[in-house]
Amino acid sequence: MTQHTGRCKIMNEIYKNKGRYACLSTAIAVLGIMLLCGCAQKYFIRESVDITRIRSIAVLPFENFTRDDFAGEKIRRIVITELLSRGVDVTEPGEVTKLLSELNVRSLRSIKTEEIKKVGETLGVDAVMSGSVEAFGISKGINVTYPEVTVNLMLLETGSGNIVWSVRSSTGGASFWTRHFGAEGIPLSEAARRTVEDAIDTVY
């Protein structure tokens, strides 16, 4: 009995610890799965098109759905800078603006496939990029502030007028350290840069 109790004692100790480890690892796994499910950035690349062949792009002015009057232009500038840094030739924005004016394009949201093709052909570029800024500003939590930037980008091939790449990229929310320890979050310009960088990373 004593032997049995003794063995049991040891076994119980081992079993107790094993149980603890099992519970802990299960909890971590479940949490991990839950976290991962929400994090994936979805984007579209047309499989039949070799995106790497697209080396010259005209970036259209972006639609702006935010309260910052210049958010569209700011993001457009960051996108152009990012594309240039990846070795893509980007048409001078002034020429794009002039061409849109000549084509009587009044609103960016109603720009048609034919007009996009014409812009691409006139400027001699492989593709035209359009986009919209959904969020651009500092949001306020209970006692924290954090930047929030969300952009939608789309690449349209000049020849076919088809959408060959599309992505929605977002950076936002107070980080763990900001929320619980009041640490300073990243500035809005940095959040914008990261959002655009993440978006362009999916294609170049």
Binding site: G19, L31, E115, E148, M154, R168, G173
Partner: protein, 199 residues
């Protein structure tokens, strides 16, 4: 020995209970979206769609445009259908002397379908879009309705209404971070489109 076993059992029950609470607060408890699917339609024939401008029933000026953009982006990301260039449907609507977001008849849907060479059009409305206060916590709330109409018949073949928002259990009681507006919008749209693609 008996007390040890009892203790272990209690721990197991406690742990299972915690996991259950965690599961329901994070994943469940939001309610399944109410949706309609025409069982007689073979959705595999729908290769190309046009997303029409969404009706905006909120005070947020660009709510309709934002949600529409997300729908286009998510549809493309699934890779299951082609989507027309966003400007083409708007141009087609304007040709019919309709304003973006105006109600559209079955005949007009057929006309748009022929014009854009699509098998279906997607229409929608944004009913709620903004921050709502819950005590000392504010959280975004988004409510949308999305429909798909067959351009050969002009009839609705799929429709879903989905809402998401409010401060979660953890946000309300433990000050955890609420979703941002962008996160809420993408979550609503993804859950809504899931009902179409899981079919």
């Amino acid at each position: 020995m008996k007390s040890e076993t009892l203790r272990r059992e209690r721990l197991k029950i406690l742990f299972s209970g915690l996991l259950t609470i965690l599961f329901f607060t994070c994943c469940g408890g939001k309610g399944t979206p109410s949706f309609y699917m025409n069982q007689d339609v073979d959705f595999s024939f729908i290769k190309r769609v046009a997303v029409l401008p969404f009706e905006n029933l909120t005070n947020e000026r660009f709510a309709g445009d934002m949600v529409r953009q997300v729908v286009i982006s998510e549809l493309l990301a699934t890779g299951l259908v082609e989507v027309t260039v966003p400007g083409d449907p708007i141009s087609a609507i304007e040709k019919l002397r309709l304003k973006p977001g105006d109600p559209i008849s079955a005949d007009q849907i057929k006309t748009v379908g022929k014009d854009l060479k699509v098998q279906a059009v997607i229409l929608g409305a944004v009913e709620e879009f903004g921050e709502v206060r819950y005590g000392n916590v504010s959280a975004p709330e988004v409510s949308i309705t999305i429909m798909m109409a067959d351009t050969s018949s002009g009839s609705i073949i799929w429709s879903v209404t989905k809402s998401k928002g409010g401060a979660g259990f953890w946000a309300r009681h433990f000050g955890a971070r609420s979703d941002t507006m962008s996160e809420t919008v993408i979550a609503v749209v993804r859950e809504a489109l899931k009902t179409l693609f899981e079919y």
